[in-house]
Symmetry: C2
Subunit: 118 residues, 2 copies
DNA sequence: TTGACATATTCCCATATGGGAATATAATTA
DNA sequence: TAATTATATTCCCATATGGGAATATGTCAA
């Protein structure tokens, strides 16, 4: 089995730095494809292709305006990433050193998993 | 140019679900490779290969104990992911719907920073 | 209608993938 | 020493990649 397609989920889609860059630009306001081409200094087909990946995982929405397509961000598919990575926050955040709510939380999840199918 | 190697950074490393699963297991306590093999029900070589990727991006550390290698998590390389994705939090969090809320939070952070002299 | 502009798609290619299978290396035990 | 256990590495393969180049599609303007 090869690596999962980039369109599998947000995790895979945003592993590509260009696509994060695109989202970072679009998060401020909607942009046409050519706007992005100019800002990124990337060839237009590559931009369109990145946008397609982002579209397929729902991270951007398009609006038609004449011959332009105006893209904007929909950050909701990023929530699973945030949720997952949040569990590791204590690794770099001293605020979590004392009492460990995160581990408690993970433990609670694990316990319910153990109880449900093991 | 093909897709960036999985060992490029944490973004690429954790795009693979198996590797997230490994981290989720190791976050509770250190484990030997065979422990992981049993829990994941995956062939040993694949586990070792996933662990190598995680090692190369610094997400796990190893400790030798006889013929076993005990792996544990080091979540610090996940911080860039957390930082990046946090900027999109308002997309799914109703708490951020009103701009005032954001400003309040920023102000609160500033205040606590002032209080703890930073 | 024709030409210019905006965007999307297709084809090419070198490269890395993750799993399977076999094997190598290292440490322990009989 | 040889056998066993634990882990890592190597080889194979089907597949998707991201960029480049060329082309297709769609929309507007003269």
């Amino acid at each position: 089995m090869p690596r999962a397609p980039t369109t599998t989920d947000a995790f895979n889609a945003v592993a590509e730095p260009r696509r994060r860059q695109i989202l970072d630009i679009l998060v401020r306001r909607e942009r046409s494809v050519n706007d992005l081409v100019r800002v990124l200094r990337l060839a237009q087909p590559q931009v369109s292709k990145h946008l397609r990946v982002l579209r397929e995982v729902g991270l951007v929405k398009v609006r038609e305006d004449g011959r332009q397509r105006l893209y904007r961000v929909d950050g909701r598919p990023l929530k699973p990433i945030h949720t997952w990575v949040k569990h590791y926050e204590r690794a770099w955040n001293e605020r979590f050193d004392a009492l460990d709510e995160v581990l408690d939380e993970l433990k609670r999840e694990d316990d319910s998993n153990d109880a449900s199918h093991e």
